[in-house]
């Protein structure tokens, strides 16, 4: 599915090391994802970040790509069983849920720690003036 060879001006930055590896074989192993002709399509920054996290964690050996694809498929199947519309609109929500599940399963972190961290980020946003980088203060 990659047509990375194209390389017009807009796509000039694509042919960099590392990412091509992600495309063809690994994306093919995943359940169908929102994509255009060139690969995964994101609608918001968090989706790309979640995508990158799964790719990198797998590259680092914390789980195999096959395990990742399986976990994601489970999430999607459960969503379908709950009667959620299968129109791709929540694909990356399921992606994030699968990521959380695998991270906890592999004891890379705990559900409680992730929850606390999420709250900490929300808090940081609420207390950071516009125009300044949002940063976490260390809490431990």
């Amino acid at each position: 599915m990659t047509s990375a060879g194209g390389g017009g001006a807009v796509r000039g930055g694509f042919d960099r090391g590392g990412v091509e590896r992600v495309d063809a074989e690994r994306l093919a192993a995943l359940p169908p994802m929102p994509a255009d002709d060139d690969g995964p399509a994101f609608e918001a920054p968090w989706q790309a970040q979640a995508f990158a996290l799964a790719v990198k964690l797998s590259e680092e050996g914390h789980f195999t790509w096959k395990e990742w694809a399986g976990t994601l498929a489970d999430e999607l199947a459960e969503a379908e069983a709950r009667g959620e519309p299968d129109d791709g609109s929540r694909y990356y929500h399921h992606w994030v849920a699968a990521l959380e599940r695998l991270v906890v399963d592999r004891r890379l972190s705990t559900a409680a720690a992730l929850d606390d961290r999420r709250e900490a980020w929300a808090d940081a946003y609420r207390h950071t003036p516009h125009g300044q980088p949002v940063e976490l203060r260390r809490t431990d």
Binding site: G8, A9, V10, R11, G12, G13, F14, R16, G18, V19, V22, D36, D38, G39, P40, A41, F42, E43, A44, P45, W46, A48, Q49, A50, F51, A52, L53, V55, K56, L57, E60, H62, Y92, H93, V96, L99, E100, V103, L108, S109, A113, L114, D115, R117, R118, A120, W121, A122, Y125, R126, H127, T128, P129, H130, G131, Q132, P133, V134, L136
Partner: protein, 259 residues
């Protein structure tokens, strides 16, 4: 807050913190540019210390985005994944996924002067004509580069970026040095991007916010008269729509010619 046309308000207290090394503090939706970056001492408008009306604190991102941040920050902290490597993937994808929508807007404006007028008068509506508005309800304002004026867009948050038209913000756009320095010394920043703006060209810096986002309409390069709209889409870069680059005439000769 006033969301009227962004008219020049000169440099006010917006950059008060920048001079002491913090990030630039920007009033929402206003032109805060300066064509003379040597005036960094001019934060005489100092009474607004940290209380700049209704955008004092940042919008909390949606829960799902916070969950991703939580995952990322926990795992990076534990050394399980490298933050720069994540950025690299994101940066690579944003280069090719997003900006095409914006490029279509620009190319249309280049070939259709009536569209250009509508675009500059009401960016939100004109971009909507091409179907490229997100569901966020944010206002889009399009600012045109001319031989006299060069526009540069900056913001302080990744959320303050017109991603329906430009895709995901590049990593450097979110960096503290860019955000602070784009306001203080826009010409120097542009020059680091390889763009030297002549002294007699005014540089205007626009601050994006959650409510209003900016898109630069770059100048159509010379020598592209024979190119089709579709071909023009292909030469418009993301950086040119942020204002850190010009659109270059395609090298390798006569576009649309006998090649």
């Amino acid at each position: 807050m006033d969301e009227s046309e962004g008219r020049p308000v000169g440099r006010r207290g917006f950059i008060r913190d920048a001079a002491v090394g913090a990030a630039a503090f920007a009033a929402p939706g206003k032109l805060m540019g300066s064509q003379d970056e040597s005036h960094r001492h001019s934060h005489e408008h100092g009474h607004d210390h940290g209380h700049d009306h209704d955008h004092e604190h940042q919008d909390v991102p949606p829960d799902i985005a916070l969950r991703v941040r939580a995952l990322e920050s926990v795992l990076v902290e534990k050394g399980m994944v490298d933050s720069a490597a994540l950025d690299e993937i994101v940066d690579t994808y944003e280069n090719r996924i997003g900006p095409r929508n914006g490029a279509e807007v620009v190319a249309r404006a280049w070939v259709d002067s009536a569209y250009r007028e509508r675009l500059l008068a009401d960016g939100t509506a004109a971009i909507g004509e091409l179907g490229h508005l997100g569901g966020q309800g944010e206002h889009m304002k399009v600012v045109a580069n001319t031989p006299e004026v060069h526009n540069l867009v900056v913001c302080t948050l990744c959320s303050c970026y017109p991603w329906p038209t430009l895709g995901l913000p590049p990593v450097w756009y979110k960096s503290a040095p860019f955000r602070a320095r784009a306001v203080i010394e826009p010409r120097a920043v542009l020059s680091e991007f390889g763009l030297d703006v002549p002294e007699d060209v005014e540089v205007r810096v626009w601050d994006s916010t959650a409510e209003i986002r900016y898109l630069v309409l770059p100048e159509r390069p010379a020598g592209t008269e024979d190119m089709t709209e579709e071909e023009l889409v292909g030469i418009v870069t993301r950086d040119s729509m942020i204002g850190v680059a010009r659109v270059e005439t395609p090298s390798g000769g006569e576009p649309g010619g006998d090649a």
